[in-house]
């Protein structure tokens, strides 16, 4: 029900905002956190992480077969090599979609997500519905997301239960032979790298 509220007049929402402001002020008053550090954290994740990073990884894999092999074999090293690293991406694995297999990423126990390459997750990824249903009925979820797979395509759901973070390597769309990496990267969507969309 909180989703249906007018957030500005939601007492739950106001309580949360007050709670956070009190904590922030207290941490600064105690000298535990420098105020600028919080701005740095927000700016870093909003501006320097996000699906544009992942899209570069995908575009390079589409363009360079050797990189693709490396990426699928040693995800962390291949991603670090493009300059993406950090918390919630220390150990990366990239799983490739094909005509035979479609991959979907979830974290049923909390909301683990590969921050360096995809940024912070969208709220629906953290929803009870996505966490609960994705492992039991991934085909039904894909249908909700508008992805219709042939019955022959197996669906693999990766539940991020330990410290490995997962990213999907979507299939390269047909008719993109002439595109360079930048143009290819522009085709890649966040949901394509979670597995809730095709590209």
């Amino acid at each position: 029900m909180p989703h249906d509220h007018d957030h500005d007049h939601d007492p739950l929402e106001q309580g949360a905002a007050l709670r956070v402001r009190a904590l922030e002020e207290l941490m600064i008053a105690k000298g535990f956190i420098e105020p600028e550090a919080l701005d740095t954290v927000v700016a870093y994740y909003e501006q320097q992480t996000g699906p544009r990073n992942g899209a570069k990884v995908v575009a390079k894999a589409w363009s360079d077969p050797d990189y693709r092999d490396w990426l699928l074999r040693e995800g962390t090293a291949a991603i670090n090599n493009l300059g993406f690293s950090g918390f919630q991406g220390e150990e990366m694995r990239v799983v490739a979609n094909s005509d035979q297999v479609h991959n979907l990423v979830v974290c049923t126990l909390c909301s683990c997500y590969p921050w360096p390459v995809l940024g912070l997750p969208p709220a629906w990824y953290k929803s009870m519905a996505y966490r609960a249903r994705s492992v039991r009925e991934p085909r039904s979820i894909l249908t909700e997301f508008g992805v219709d797979l042939p019955a022959e395509t197996e669906v693999q759901v990766w539940d991020s239960t330990a410290e490995v973070r997962y990213m999907v390597l979507p299939q390269r769309p047909a008719g993109t032979e002439g595109l360079d990496e930048a143009a290819l990267a522009a085709l890649v969507t966040r949901d394509g790298m979670i597995g809730t969309a095709l590209v």
């Binding site: 709670r19 904590l23 197996e154």
Partner: protein, 221 residues
């Protein structure tokens, strides 16, 4: 802990709220995220310890409170438990006493912080002397234990048989990290489970679940 957080497979949560496509929808959520991230270095606490504190939020609040508010509730609880703040202070944000940070805790400053965020944490503990117990392709059973503490063996996989898909390597162990910040590293494996093995006759056809499970969650099947 078999809490509400362990919701893989549960019914009753309706359709995916696809319209919630934002990361933050209010400024306080940005601040909640940043202050919690910073507190991991201040208190200090690991992600596992923070997850455990989230899991201990009463179930009905877990289901209704905003995700980032839960982050802050959990971080505040860990600050309290470390003796760095009082409940009174948390209520109004006004400092009542000064506290010394503990060993390992440090003031979080902007300078050099991006480098820390880019570096992340060492989570793997390569150890060639430690032989993996399970080989790729081997069948394993997920032990049916129900610890009251933090665990990353989800209920829906316990008692189920899967196949080792990959040896992930020697990794810090979530259960001991959450209990006492002790990495107690052990081998971790990606294990593949057929949908029917997990959900029985109610499985969708042609589906598999893969999960990363530590060695002590498993035994040969």
């Amino acid at each position: 802990m078999d809490g509400i957080h362990d919701m893989g497979g549960m019914h009753g949560f309706g359709p995916i709220p696809r319209d919630q496509d934002y990361t933050f929808r209010a400024e306080w959520q940005r601040r909640a995220f940043a202050v919690t991230e910073a507190l991991g270095g201040v208190v200090p606490f690991s992600a596992d310890t923070h997850r455990q504190a989230m899991e201990r939020i009463p179930a009905h609040e877990y289901l209704t409170r905003d995700y980032f508010e839960k982050w802050v509730i959990a971080a505040s609880q860990l600050l309290l438990e470390a003796g760095l703040v009082s409940e009174e202070e948390l209520r109004d944000g006004k400092k009542r006493f000064d506290a010394e940070l503990k060993d390992g805790g440090e003031k979080i400053v902007a300078e050099g912080l991006v480098e820390v965020l880019r570096a992340g944490m060492p989570l793997m503990f390569p150890d060639e002397k430690r032989e993996p117990r399970f080989a790729v392709g081997q069948k394993v059973l997920v032990l049916n234990n129900h610890p009251s503490g933090h665990t990353r063996s989800p209920r829906y996989l316990r008692g189920r048989i899967g196949v080792i898909e990959r040896q992930v390597g020697v990794m810090q162990f979530a259960d001991t990290m959450a209990a006492s910040e002790n990495p107690a590293p052990q081998h971790c494996y990606t294990v593949a489970f057929e949908g029917q093995e997990v959900w029985g006759q109610d499985a969708e056809p042609g589906t598999r679940v893969l999960a990363d499970l530590w060695e002590s969650y498993l035994e040969p099947a």
